[in-house]
């Protein structure tokens, strides 16, 4: 067993464990931290595949930016985890059984000799000075121009969708329209309610009478 294989299996074990903890951790902050570990470990996998640039950008973008933002949100919102996870353990046995059966079936097919997975030899290692970034740049801006541009459109759509769903005129907004302020009349501010006078019955009549007679 070569060193890279040992690294691969160690990384995979950590990845699987942390991914499992993401969905089983009771505390959402812990779940987010486990997710950070999962991303970090998969970046290790990409390094093994000699995709250095992608590995670094995974760490920078997901671990550095996305997950930190996510942690902030999780910490700011007071999420009731118990309520969210209601029914999780009740459905767990069935879901786990289905998942395990599917995984076993997939493993059976992939491990069968007819699948000939052994034919897929690992790619020859790149030269030490092969530049990942250069190759990526060349491919993205020429062959993959269309998906690249469309990904930009997808991001634009995500912005529009997020704004449409969150930023609308809200009832709890503090904004006041000046035109409506100027238009206001006295009748809008004070409401005069006409009603009969109500006299309170004096409770200590006897005491008052006594005071008068003195």
């Amino acid at each position: 067993m070569s060193f890279t294989m040992i690294v691969f299996y160690v990384l995979s074990a950590i990845l699987l464990f942390s991914a499992f903890r993401v969905i089983t951790a009771k505390n959402p902050v812990h779940a987010a931290l486990w997710l950070v570990l999962a991303f970090f470990t998969s970046a290790g996998h990409w390094l093994l595949l000699e995709a250095e640039f992608l590995a670094i950008s995974l760490v920078l973008v997901y671990v550095g930016a996305v997950m930190v933002l996510f942690l902030f949100v999780v910490m700011m919102l007071d999420i009731n985890v118990e309520q969210l996870r209601e029914g999780f353990w009740r459905h767990f046995p069935l879901a786990a059984t289905v998942g395990l059966i599917m995984a076993a079936e997939m493993a059976l097919i992939l491990a069968a000799p007819e699948t000939r997975l052994a034919d897929y030899a690992p790619a020859a290692p790149l030269a030490a000075d092969a530049s990942n970034v250069k190759q990526l740049g060349l491919e993205i801006y020429t062959t993959y121009l269309m998906p690249f541009e469309l990904a930009a459109v997808l991001l634009l759509l995500a912005i529009v969708a997020a704004i449409a769903l969150t930023q609308r005129e809200r009832k709890d907004g503090k904004y006041v329209d000046p035109a409506r302020q100027v238009e206001v009349k006295a009748a809008d501010r004070v409401r005069v309610v006409k009603m009969d006078a109500v006299r309170e019955e004096a409770p200590q009549t006897e005491a008052a009478d006594a005071a008068q007679s003195q």
């Binding site: 897929y120 020429t142 998906p147 459109v153 997808l154 759509l157 529009v160």
Partner: protein, 494 residues
Amino acid sequence: MNWADLNLMPALPELFLLGALSFILVFDLFVPDEKRGVTYVLSLLTVALCAVLQVATFEPFAVTTFSGMFVDDPVADIIKVAMYGATAATLVYSRQYVADNGMFRGEYFTLSLFALLGMNVMVSSANFVTLYIGLELLSLALYALIALKRDSAAGTEAAMKYFVLGALASGMLLYGMSMVYGATGSLDIHVIATGISRPETNIVLLVFGLVFLVAGLAFKLGAVPFHMWVPDVYQGAPLAVTLMLGAAPKLAAFVFVIRILAQGLGELAAQWQGMLVLIAALSMLIGNLAAVAQTNIRRMLAYSTISHMGFLLLGVLAGNEQGYASAMFYALTYVLMSLAAFGVLLALSRAGFECDKVDDLKGLNARSSWYAFLMLLVMFSMAGIPPLAGFYAKFAVLRAVVDLPVLDFGFFAGSPVYLAVFAVLMSLVGAFYYLRVVKVMYFDGSQTDAPIVVRGDMKLLLSVNALALLVIGLLPERLVELCIDAMRQSLASF
């Protein structure tokens, strides 16, 4: 590739759509609320101009650009023009509804146009990467549209369900694509198609990926056993968005299936035919039986959609030009029917009232005999009663199936006639709930005498839409020939 090679002409409608969409996005910021109609008109104009550009750049053969990732063939052209029509009709039908429900804002129109762009990309992609990005463009826009009525708990729930299940299906699709990539070494559907026939290609790995691809596709079409989201989303989404969901995306999903299964993995037809037989038969069975029990007309139409998708897959599983063309014809007529059915429901809805029970149609004939007649046409067409378009669509699909040689998939071996007989029996079950709507409209007493107020342009378009079912049903030859020619040209380019 160098820049002089980049031919942008085939993608002209998409480029225009993206430009106009970005313009409307910014322009709308400066439009005051009471003049929102300007955005509406601009959106309609954009869609109309896209259709003009599409027809103007029509070529009777396949043209590829963007390093073979974008393909503009006759099937794409016809389906795209139909999608522009469906989107325009959706916008016209839903105008009053969105105004009544506080959704008459710029985002409604820009998100609709984003969805249209996504569908265009899905239809015109010849590469798994762009196919997937197009699908995500469409799905993301739809998730947001479903949840757009933020105060509605049902809408939010529907959006959440659609989002979670949609993400799962996308995951399956991607996993399947990665396996196909592993086996053939390419994401380009032309290269995949030629790669499969090479002897050294790993067929087991390909079929393994194919299972996940078919599961993902069945989810996107809403076919059994991946149909659970359809009724909830149809019922929970705002009616205008349900209309959008049920019309043009079905066309895009159909071409999506054709691109992946017929063009990319056509050599594996013997493998996916068996899967599609099961999916199609179950969709027709469960869709029709469950629809019988519905009292909510939107749920009923959702289950009817499931059964129609089963019928459509019946055409696809024939695996030949005739079958694909009949499925294309089916998809086109189904979209016309779906538009008209939800259009009538939208016409009957008004501020504070949504027409979503079958009982809400009671005595429609007494209130407005014209709308009752239009709905009757739609219901008869969906049930497949001649001389309406739905009958011919079913007939064409069944003919393609019956013409097949003897089928043998292990679990089902025998004459394809059994499959056709089963489909006809299920249509018979379907006729029950379609005719029930007709019975409710014509023979039951009205519960309300609220006047039906509909904008003139909507009334005209809705009438044309429903009457088109009659015209296509009587004279289907032109459209059928168009579908067959287009399908032949598109498949010949492989």
